[in-house]
């Protein structure tokens, strides 16, 4: 399964998950047969999914035990509702007792599910606290972002809490989606139909250049798998550093510097200018070339 050259972007959450982990190693928790669907969508009399848009379970990755969640972006934009959020929270809770080598979150979500908005917002804040608890226990959490909905809203925050953020060029990461900004602030602020601009502001190459993503990979399930293995093994040999005052003061300085450096920037090109000799070539660069020019090892 993992040998097939399948696009991560085009695959369903289930295909991504199965293709990422070792063959026949996945055990699903709270599987579709249990029918834990959203009672709130049911009240609105609109379609339900038997897994409420997220698959959670245990697997091995190159033999290492992991816990893994995959959001289905095509089911209400992968948005987090009460059941959906509780499944991921439960998985993170299980990490505290099982102590896997890593927890992998295949994020594909616009954030809070508006049909159950209050439950979704509270669930994401619980998710945030759960991720921090898992990290405090010394277990690394990785976010893998390459789905059609990217990682936005609260899930954009959760993604940036993770110890590693793996993105494909097609993956997108941010807080407010371009459509939301355009609706409220106007098309001059952000033209959401300008796909090239959207990718230059939120896409994987921009996020990798700013340092918001730690890895950029090709849009292929095996590429995500191989980097996930490398990262899992990296944290086996080099334990997770705890978040302490010094590391956060350092981060504070870095973020202050970023704001000053790109004080007026509104387009990824302005950021690539600082990093690449030919910024206009960045969108067409292969991932390998991009990583080489950025001076990083994949």
């Amino acid at each position: 399964m993992s040998g097939l050259q399948i696009s991560f972007l085009e695959a369903s959450a289930r295909k991504r998950l199965i293709g990422l982990v070792d063959a026949n190693s996945f055990t699903e928790f709270c599987p579709p047969e249990m029918r834990k669907t959203s009672p709130h969508l049911a009240l609105l009399d609109i379609p339900l999914a038997l897994d409420d848009g997220v698959i959670v379970g245990a697997a091995t990755l190159a033999g290492h035990s992991i816990l893994i969640a995959a959001q289905e972006g095509r089911f209400y934009g992968g948005a987090v509702g009460e059941v959906h959020g509780a499944k991921i929270c439960g998985l993170l809770g299980k990490a505290l007792t099982d102590r896997p080598s890593a927890v992998l979150l295949l994020v594909d979500s616009g954030g809070v599910r508006l049909h159950e908005a209050n439950a979704g917002l509270i669930a994401i804040s619980e998710l945030v606290r759960s991720v921090l608890d898992v990290q405090a226990a010394g277990i690394p959490v990785f976010a893998l972002v390459g789905g059609s909905c990217g990682a936005f809203g609260g899930m954009g925050i959760v993604t940036r809490l993770c110890d590693e953020v793996v993105m494909s060029e097609q993956g997108r990461l941010g807080l407010s989606g371009p459509e939301v900004i355009e609706t409220v602030k106007g098309v001059e602020e952000f033209d959401s139909r300008d796909r090239a601009l959207v990718w230059r502001v939120t896409g994987g190459k921009l996020r990798r250049a700013v340092g918001e993503a730690t890895q950029l990979v090709d849009d292929l399930i095996p590429a995500f798998r191989s980097i996930a293995i490398k990262l899992t093994e990296k944290y086996q040999s080099q334990p997770l550093a705890s978040i302490d005052l010094d590391s956060l003061l350092e981060k504070q300085a870095e973020l202050v510097k970023r704001r000053a450096r790109f004080e007026r920037a509104r387009d990824g090109l302005e950021i690539w200018q600082e990093v690449f000799s030919e910024p206009s070539c960045v969108p067409d660069m292969t991932v390998a070339d991009f990583n080489r020019q950025l001076g990083v090892q994949a």
Binding site: P31, P32, L50, R74
Partner: protein, 105 residues
Amino acid sequence: MEKFTLALPSSSPPLEVIRSTICGVVSSGNLEILVESNPKSDVCTLVVNTSAHGFREIWEAVLHDFALRHPAGGLGFTINDAGATPAVVSLRLDQAFEICCGEAK
């Protein structure tokens, strides 16, 4: 949502279904199908939840056709549909059956 259940006669599959299978995604024009085992080996049960109202006759035709074409006795199908066309429904049912019983052929 419109909901109905059908129990259709169908011949037994070549192998007992050990693990349930899920196929497809609930999104506009698409559907998910969960296949589980059911105790009656000569009956195929189908539970349909669809967002498209008033198409029960067409659904029944598609499902009858499926139960005739495949040995789906002893199988239970749960379908969550968000407005898929009959062709997509038929294709997904074939896929679900294939994943579930394909190896036994």
